[in-house]
């Protein structure tokens, strides 16, 4: 049946919703079970939505029946209804309560390696005998380690890694949720955009750089997961007041490849630094973000332009957003018969003219 030809559009939508929501043989997992047991799903949704709200994210995962792109979209759309109350103070990642810390630069690093909860070194055997209910994972129960020295700082002191970028002029950071991003983007705009990018798209782009479509193939100076305190300025007293913690993954990637690199404090050649910080334990996304940050800067500095898609700022930032990409790809399901009629009209005209010439 045609999807417009009848007056039944409204009933059709209702019936389709009923079919989609039908849960044969009982209900799915509860919001609590998802929040505790599907922690990576919750983290991925918060990260791509750009909103730290575990309970709401779990609710979105349940409502979307596990479609995480859809869940991230639900959460972002909800955020559109909330006024912007204000901005937190700039968080200092050194204050993170660490549950995981790895540096792949040296055999022994100051502060030590902290493996923490991970399945990086587990054998990936599908557990056929395990309980079916999702179990809460350990990330929520460790106290974590306090301040640990940064390998990046040591490298910087030794003149091996470029210095930090100067603070952007102006009152505050760019706000991606309130302004349209233009390229070249400010650094805060670029990092925000990458931080809520779609993990799969970012992994693919970062992977392309590692495989030679671009030059960036860095070493992880710091890989950290932990709880980062968030503070807002007290309206009367002016001092910072801690309002909570957000679980984050932070990556500092260093490298100097194929002629690209930064400059040290004394303008001597040094390694460049790529930075990644994402909500939750989205580890491969945090690494991808650091690679893409370094790659984009490499592309901007090359005289002959970007050496691959991953180094092309407009290409990366405009295509890494999952909400926009999934929406537009799926809009092809909408009726297009008027524009199609218009295309047919042109094709018939071209065919008619071609036939005249041939005849």
């Amino acid at each position: 049946m045609a999807y417009t030809a009848v007056k039944g559009g409204e009933e059709a939508i209702k019936a389709a919703e009923m079919l989609e929501d039908a849960a044969p043989g009982g209900s799915g997992p509860s919001v609590e079970e998802v929040e505790g047991g599907l922690r990576y799903a919750v983290d991925s949704v918060m990260s791509e939505a750009g909103l730290y709200a575990p309970r709401l994210a779990a609710r979105a995962v349940v409502q979307a029946q596990g479609d995480l792109a859809e869940a991230a979209f639900l959460l972002r759309a909800y955020r559109s209804t909330l006024p912007r109350a204000g901005y937190t103070q700039t968080a200092d990642p050194q204050e993170m309560r660490l549950i995981r810390r790895i540096s792949s630069t040296f055999k022994d690093v100051p502060g030590g390696q902290l493996l923490g909860p991970t399945r990086d070194y587990s054998q990936r055997l599908l557990g056929l005998q395990r309980a079916e209910k999702p179990q809460p994972n350990g990330a929520g129960t460790t106290d974590g380690e306090g301040r640990l020295p940064r390998v990046t700082d040591l490298l910087r002191e030794a003149g091996m890694v470029e210095g930090p970028e100067p603070r952007e002029p102006g009152a505050g950071p760019f706000d991606l949720t309130r302004e349209a991003l233009a390229v070249p983007a400010s650094r805060s705009g670029r990092l925000q955009s990458l931080s809520r990018g779609e993990a799969g798209a970012m992994t693919a782009l970062a992977y392309s750089s590692l495989r030679g479509y671009g030059a960036v193939h860095p070493t992880l100076a710091e890989f950290r997961t932990g709880y980062l305190p968030v503070r807002v300025e007290h309206p009367h007293l002016g001092e910072g007041v801690e309002v909570g913690e957000v679980l984050c993954t932070e990556v500092e990637a260093v490298g100097r490849e194929m002629g690209y690199g930064g400059e040290g404090e004394a303008d001597e050649p040094a390694m460049s630094l790529g930075y990644g910080l994402v909500f939750g334990r989205c580890e491969r996304k945090a690494i991808s973000m650091a690679i893409l940050d370094a790659a984009i800067r490499a592309g901007a500095e090359r005289e002959q332009g970007p050496a691959g898609p991953a180094e092309d700022e407009e290409f990366v930032l405009y295509h890494a957003d999952g909400i926009e990409a999934t929406g537009f790809v799926e809009h092809l399901k909408l009726p297009h018969y008027v524009t199609f009629q218009s295309s047919l009209d042109r094709l018939r005209e071209v065919q008619r003219k071609a036939a005249q010439v041939d005849g």
Binding site: E324, V338, T339, Q341
Partner: protein, 295 residues
């Protein structure tokens, strides 16, 4: 009912309101949208970037048009939504139910009764008046996208009014195919200045924008752009002196099988039993009215 009363109802736990702000978006966001719209009206055809919000419909499904409509509606407005010219199209139904639910406005199928007409891919056959606003859903706001996908470069071309690549594109299509092959989304020059994408309307509808008495607003949610054609503004399709702009043609004698019209944009259909091609009006409400008048 006043806006204030509706707002009070919308506070969760109070009254029987929806638990969302009036017209979904928070008030500051709506104000920003209206400011950007005013800027767009002041610079006809120029794309104004705005902080597009995520809406309860997917990106690419009309979120730009929806944001414009929600920033404009208030109590007393009457809203009409069409997709491909049809009010009953699923996307139009969805828009209408969302706007009537979130902004509690009257809806209509008759273009004459609407204060805001939101559309995807068509302009109603009924000529609009000066007290009506036509809101377009725009997938790709950049008319130069066909020749320059890089937005940063396209913006520079607009700033310099350098549209030579687009002219060349049209020339090449004439040279290769003996005809300009652009179907819908035909590039137009607004107010003798900016090149503009009129959204994927058929060429049939392009002349309706020229010196129209109504305001036309274009919203691209995913691409975060608003642009406008103010009332009584010139909108001219790109054309060569010897290869004129032409609207779609239908086979000789083609007419609507329902109302008999041969002066409207027609949908081409196939009779399932006989296999014959037949036509009906794309603007279904206009077709209904003609049918009634002829009875």
């Amino acid at each position: 009912m006043t806006v204030d009363e509706l707002l009070r109802d919308a506070v969760p736990g109070l009254g029987n309101g929806p638990g969302y702000n009036y017209a979904f978006l928070d008030e500051l966001s709506k104000r920003e949208l209206r400011r950007k719209t005013l800027k767009a009206v002041s610079i006809p055809g120029h794309q104004v970037p705005f902080g597009s919000r995520e809406m309860p419909l997917a990106r690419g499904w009309g979120t730009g048009g929806l944001q414009l409509s929600l920033s404009l509606v208030g109590p007393g407005d009457t809203y009409k939504a069409i997709d491909q010219g049809a009010d009953a199209s699923v996307n139009a139904v969805n828009m209408r139910s969302l706007v009537s639910r979130m902004a509690e406005v009257e809806t209509t199928l008759d273009a004459r009764d609407a204060t805001i007409v939101q559309t995807r891919h068509r302009i109603p056959e009924e000529p609009l008046r000066g007290d009506q606003i036509l809101v377009f859903q725009v997938p790709i706001p950049e008319p130069l996208e066909r020749v320059e996908p890089r937005i940063s470069r396209a913006r520079r071309m607009h700033a310099e009014r350098d549209y030579s690549k687009m002219w060349l594109f049209l020339y090449e299509s004439v040279a290769k195919h003996g005809e300009v092959t652009v179907g819908a989304r035909y590039p137009v020059v607004v107010n003798g200045s900016y090149l503009m994408d009129p959204s994927p309307i058929p060429r049939w509808d392009v002349p309706k924008l020229h010196h129209a008495p109504n305001l036309a607003l274009f919203g691209a949610g995913r691409e975060k752009r608003i642009y406008a054609v103010p009332p009584h503004t010139s909108v001219e399709p790109l054309e060569f002196e010897d290869y004129r702009f032409r609207v779609e043609s239908f086979p000789r004698g083609a007419h609507c099988r329902r109302c008999g019209s041969d002066d409207t944009f027609l949908d081409e259909l196939t009779d399932e039993r006989s296999g014959e091609t037949y036509f009906t009006c794309s603007d279904t409400s206009f077709c209904d009215r003609r049918l009634e008048e002829r009875r």
